[in-house]
Amino acid sequence: MRHLLSTGDLSRDEAIAVLDTAAEMRALSDRTIKKAPVLRGRTVVNLFFEDSTRTRISFEAAGKRLSADVINFAAKGSSLSKGESLKDTALTLEAMGADAVVVRHGASGAPYRLAHSGWVRSKVVNAGDGTHEHPTQALLDAFTMRRHLGDLDGRRVAIVGDVLHSRVARSNALLLSTLGAEVTLVAPPTLLPVGVEHWPVSTSFDFDATLPKVDVVMMLRVQAERMNAAFFPTVREYSRRYGLDARRMGLMPDHALVMHPGPMVRGMEISADVADSTRSVIVEQVTNGVAVRMAVLYMLLSGTDDTTQEDDA
């Protein structure tokens, strides 16, 4: 793996290798000494142009548990225009000798630009770019599903809510279909992206009809901060049609899981009693996030440094 920019770049074998590695990393996190010297002397820079708590902390913990030097670089508030800002920052990082850059940016494609511009020689990990992708979130979701359900081949996953603004939904749809799961997007027509018919998924507007067949229900946050138009009439109406409450949870099979990438808006897309129920693996998702990010950093950074060789391959 040269970079991790999109889950669409991962083959089935690569994805499974990351998830298997994450399982060992998760065991490491349960020990008294939660640390291995594997990335000693390597520098990982967390470059966050957008607000984030759990993703940044998760990457920071992951890097530190593998003994890498972690530098947090919050670029929020920069007045430079996006292209210049990213390039200047990239040159700074290059001068600091970063081996990997974990980047979150409000513009879709910013990590790709960083990886392929020639500005930096480091490995690039996409930690969320605009409404495009958030690959490590999808990997941790798949990891959590595998822990509870085993092999995902043939499993049915419903992704529900604000698909239009969700980078989590896109990364999950691509990864889960690579792993053989059947994904159904459930959302009001206004919150489905243009071109969704080209995604490897089916779509539905009827949440109740989807529920009895699912193994996993993944709820998405309604991203009010990205909403510049009226996508649905009222919060109450959205919640009644697309929110997960106790009645709807009753329609799910007994083994089915409730997931949410966080942060949750309780009372909007998910009710408090569902979020806190035994079906919910939302807290576990956070724990697994560290293990998955350790696996990604390990696979990107632990091997040979001979990048020219890899570029040819």
Binding site: M1, A17, D20, T21, E24, M25, A27, L28, R31, T32, I33, K35, A36, P37, V38, L66, Y298, M299, L300, L301, S302, G303, T304, D305
Partner: protein, 183 residues
């Protein structure tokens, strides 16, 4: 010229070697008290289980047995593409204050064992650490030696020693191949 594999130990030889190692471990430890066996993946793990089985039969007590993956502690990680991790499985009693016997299939440069000692240090603090290897082929690059050896096998660098085990390969044998260039 295609390499010609030759079998140096067959399944009977391996079984007898493991039985002898088991008795030596008990003799040295004066019984089975505090013993914990940790196999180094991949082929050290089934060997550790086989030795534990023999110890249990002789002493009529259950010997804790597990696996210790050393991949993240190796000194050659940056010389090859990223490696898949093996499984680490520490028995419930842990290793603190115990007599840990590390089990590996082939002892060669000693670098794997160096990594294992580092990995073990992050798991706990055993009272004693010993090393059992099915084959010692020499060519040590570090001051490390085995306490229990199944078979000393003088080899050249160009040769390749493979331990085949039923659990992975469907048969028990130790084979030497003359590979060009060696390691």
């Amino acid at each position: 010229m295609p390499p010609t594999p030759r079998t140096v130990l067959d399944s009977g030889d391996i079984a007898r070697a493991l039985t002898r190692i088991s008795h030596e471990i008990l003799e040295r430890n004066k019984g089975a008290d505090d013993l914990v066996l940790l196999g180094i993946p991949s082929r050290g793990v089934p060997l550790a289980h086989r030795i534990a089985h023999r110890l249990s039969e002789t002493e009529q007590v259950k010997i804790p047995v597990g696996a210790l993956d050393v991949t993240m502690y190796r000194d050659d990680l940056q010389m090859r593409p990223a490696r898949a991790l093996g499984h680490t499985d520490i028995p419930p009693g842990g290793v603190d204050g115990k007599v840990v016997v590390l089990v590996d299939d082939v002892l060669y440069s000693g670098r794997t064992i160096r990594a294992a000692l580092d990995a073990l240090g992050d798991v706990g603090r055993p009272r004693l650490v010993r090393l059992a290897a099915l084959v010692d082929r020499g060519h040590r690059e570090l001051p490390i030696r085995a306490d229990f050896v199944g078979k000393n096998l003088p080899t050249s660098h160009a040769e390749k020693v493979r331990v085949l085990l039923d659990e992975y390969d469907g048969e028990d044998a130790i084979v030497i191949t003359d590979s060009e260039g060696g390691r």
